[in-house]
Amino acid sequence: MSEVKEKKYKAKDFASDQEIRWCPGCGDYAILKQVQSAVAQTGKPKEEIVFISGIGCSSRFPYYMDTYGMHSIHGRATAIASGLKTARPDLSVWIITGDGDSLSIGGNHLIHLLRRNIDTNILLFNNEIYGLTKGQYSPTTPEGSHTKSSPMGVIDHPFNPISLALGADAGFIARTVDREPRHMKDIFLQADEHKGASFVEIYQNCPVFNDGAFNAYTDRGLKDENTLFIEAGKPMTFHKDKKGIVLDGLKPKVVDLTSDEYSVDDCLVHDPSDRTVAYILSQFFDNDKSADLPRVFGVIYSENRPTYEDQLSNQVELAIEEKGEGDLDALIAGPNTWYHQ
C-alpha cells in the first residue's frame, strides 16, 4: 500500500483467464466491470489485492479477477477475510458476498466484522434471491414473494441491510445499483479509500430467478421518482430536483420543490457522519410504504475509528517494546527452572 509501489493499470489488466459463467444478462457482469475499473484506478499492485468470497453466483467473482483470491465456503468469506487482514494488514482485502451468503448463513460473521472494524471492502450483491441454488427466497426477499421455497408467499420479514449494518456499528455504509456504472465505481473507490470496514450493498438483478426486483430504481420511467442519490454536504433532492426530503421533527417527508411551499434550502443536507441521519435514511425502505419515500443511493454513513488490525499490530509492537522481541529459549524455559543431576 506504499505510494512507491503504485502502478498504472487498466481495468482489463484485472481480468483473469477464466471463462465467465454467469447467466446472460446477469447484473454481476456490470459489477465485475466496475470493480476491475476501480481497483485499476487505485493503482495498488495487483499482487497486494485479495478477493475473498463465499458461495453463491456472485461468489464466483474472484475467479474473474487477476489478483489473489479465494472462493471459500458458504457464509464465511467475512470470517476468512478477518483472519487474512489481521495477519496481513498490508494487503487490500475485498469481500464478495450475496444476500444469502452474508445475511443468512453468514450474518453473524458480517456483523462481527463490522463492529470490529476490520479494514476490508464488503460488496454485498443483493439480488433478493438465492441464485446458485435456483430460486429460494433470501433474507432480503420481500414478504409475500412466491419462490420455490415459498409457494404460498414469503412470511419472513426481510432484513434491511443498511439498518442492520448500522445496528452493528459499521463505520462505512453505502448503497449502489448494478445499472449505474459510474455511481458503482465511485462508491467502490470511496469504500476502498475508507480506512475500516466498508459495507456496500449493491442492488443486482438476477434475470433468471428474480427479474426486475429493482425495476423501480433502474427503469427509465420509474427511477427518477424512486431514487435519491445523496452526497455529503448536498441537500437531498431527487426527481430532477423536483422533489426533496425535509424533516418534520424526526419524520422525513417528501416535498414538492416545484410548488412555493418548499425550496432546496428546506431540504435535509446530507451529513454522512451523523448516525441519526443515517438511521433515518436507512428507513427509506419497504416497511413504510405509505410514506412513499425514495430509495437512497450513495454513502449513507461514514465514520473513522481505529481498525482492529491496527490496534492488534500496536499491541504486538508495544509487547515487543516492553518485553523485547520474543526469545524462544526464555519462553520455553519459563520463569522457574531447576537443574537436576
Partner: protein, 611 residues
Amino acid sequence: MAEVKEKREQITVLFAGDSGDGMQLTGNQFTSTHALFGNDISTFPNFPAEIRAPQGTVNGVSGFQVKFGSSRIFTPGDAADVLVAMNAAALKANMHKLKKGGILIANTAGFDSKNLKLANCEDENPLESERLEDVMVYDVDITELTMAALEDSPLTKKEKLRTKNMFVLGFLFWMFNRSLESTENYIKEKFSKLPDVIDANVSVLKAGYNFGETSEAFTSRYQVEPASLEPGTYRSVMGNQGVAIGLIAAAKKAGLEMFYGSYPITPASDILHELAKHKNFSVRTFQAEDEIAAVTSAIGASFGGALGVTASSGPGIALKTEAIGLAIMLELPLVVVNVQRGGPSTGLPTKTEQADLLQAVYGRNGEAPIPVVAARSPEEAFEATYEAVRISVEHMTPVMLLSDGYIANGASPWKFPEASSLKPIKPLYAEKTEEEYMPYARDEKLVRKWAIPGTEGLEHRIGGLEKEELTGNVSYDPDNHEKMVKLRAEKIDKIADYIPEQEIDNGSDSGKVLILSWGSTYGAVKTAVEDLLKDDYDVGHAHLRYLNPMPRNLGEVLTKFDKVLVPEMNDGQLIHIIQSKYNKRCIPLNKIKGIPFTSAEIVESVKENYA
C-alpha cells in the same frame, strides 16, 4: 519426640477442600517445591463443574492430586498416601481414593454441624466412617490454629481465614522434610504490595511447619529422595502450556508469524490465554465470534502466509468440520487442536475423555483425510505440537492435534529442549519462474507450494470446488475428481515416510500381550507395564503418537504379539481403526468415566487376558 523418617520411593497426596479453600494454589506450591528438590512429579487438578458451587457442598469440592517420587512418575497416582480434607464434603467425595494405611489430615472445623449438613452428611459424619478404619486419621483444627497464629495480624477475620491453606502446606512441608523457601518467595512476589498479607501467609505457613515439629501426635515423617531423572534443566509444565509454547516455537522455527483464531471453551481456553500473553513473538490472537469464525479466520491467515492455528474441544471441533474440509481442498497449513473432554454434546465439560478420535479421523463430508497427532502427557505436549506444526507446514495440510482435559490441566517436570536443537521446519514457497505458475503442481511428497499474497506474478484463485490437477482451476471432470481424491489421500499416506517408525516404549517387542495405547493413557500404561515386567509378564507397550497416517511398521508390530490390548477412555475408537486397517482382532479395555485409568486397572486387565 522420636523423629522417624521413613524412606519412600513415591508418594501421592490429594488436597481436597471447598473451591474457596485454595487447594489448587496449595497443590501447585507443593508441586513446585518438590520439583525444585528434584523429585519427578505428576499432578491432576479436579475442579468442580460450577464456577463457584455452593460452599461446603460436595459439588463445590475442588481437588488437586500430586504424585512425586525418587523414581520416574507417569501418572498422578491411582490412590493417595495422604489425603487432606478441609471439610466434610471434601472427605465424603474423596475418602475412597485414600489407600489402606494412608494418612488422613482432617480440618475438624470443617466437620461442624453446618458443614455436615451442607455435605448431606447429617446421618453419618464421614470422619466416623468405617472406611477410615485402616487409615491414620489426624484431626487438626486448622481453622483455629490459623486464627491463633494471626492473633496480632491487622487483617480482617475473613482475610485471615483465607490463609489456612498455608497452614496445610507448611505442615506437609514438615512431613516431607522440604524447605519453605520457594513458597515464601512466591508469597512475597504475589503480594508485593500488601505487606500485611505477606506477613500473615508466611506466619501461617511457618505455624503449619512448626505444628508438625512440635505436636507430639505426629511421628511419621517421610524422606523421598530426588529422582534419577535424566540430568538437565527442568521446568514444570501443564499440557495447555506445552501446546502454546510448542506452537510459538514451531512457528518461529518455520519463520512464520502465528495467527491463532479461537473461541473459548473448557478445557482449551488456557491455550488462548497463554498465547495472548506472548504478543512479543508476533503472535496474533483473535477471539472469534464462534468456532466457525475461529477456524476460517485461521484459514484466511494461512492463505496470507501465516501459520493459522485454532483450538477447541469436542462441540467446537464439530462446528469446525466443514471448514476443515475447505482447508483440505485448499491444501494450506492449518493446525486444529482438540483438547478433548467428556461427551457427547456438552457432556462433562470439566472431565477428560478420548472420545473424539473417530471424529478427528473420519468426521467430515466427502473423502477428507487429514493427519492426526496425539499428545500423551503435559511434558510431551510441546513435542507433539511441534510435530503437528511441522507436518502441517511441510506437507501443506490441516492437521488435527489431540490433547485432553487430563493432559491440559495436569503438570509434570519437563526437561525442555534448547531452541537451537529443534528440528528445522521448512515451508515450501512458490516462486515466480519463467514458466506459468501452477498452483496445484506437486513435489515428490505430493505437496503443492505455498504462494503468498504480495508475491508478484503468483496471483491465483483457489476454493472449495474440486480443482483440476496442476492448474487448480475448477474442474467437473470425472477422471480428474478421482485422481484428485486419490492424490489428496496419497499425500497424507506419504507422511508416514516422514515420521518415525513405531517403537516399543517398554517391554518386549514380541510375545504374549501388546498394550497399544494413544493419548493421555500413556502414563497409566507405562506404570502398569513397569509393574507387569517386574512380575515377569511377557508384555510390551507401544504408544501411538501418529494416528493418521500410522507408522509404516505398525502392522508388523501387531503381528508379533498373540494378543493386543487397547485401553481407551472411550467406548472403543482406536481399536476400531486398527481392526479395520490390520487383520488383527484386538481386546478393548474401556473406561468412560471422565477420569483417567489407574495403572492398576491396566495391570488387572492384562492379567485377565493373559493366558
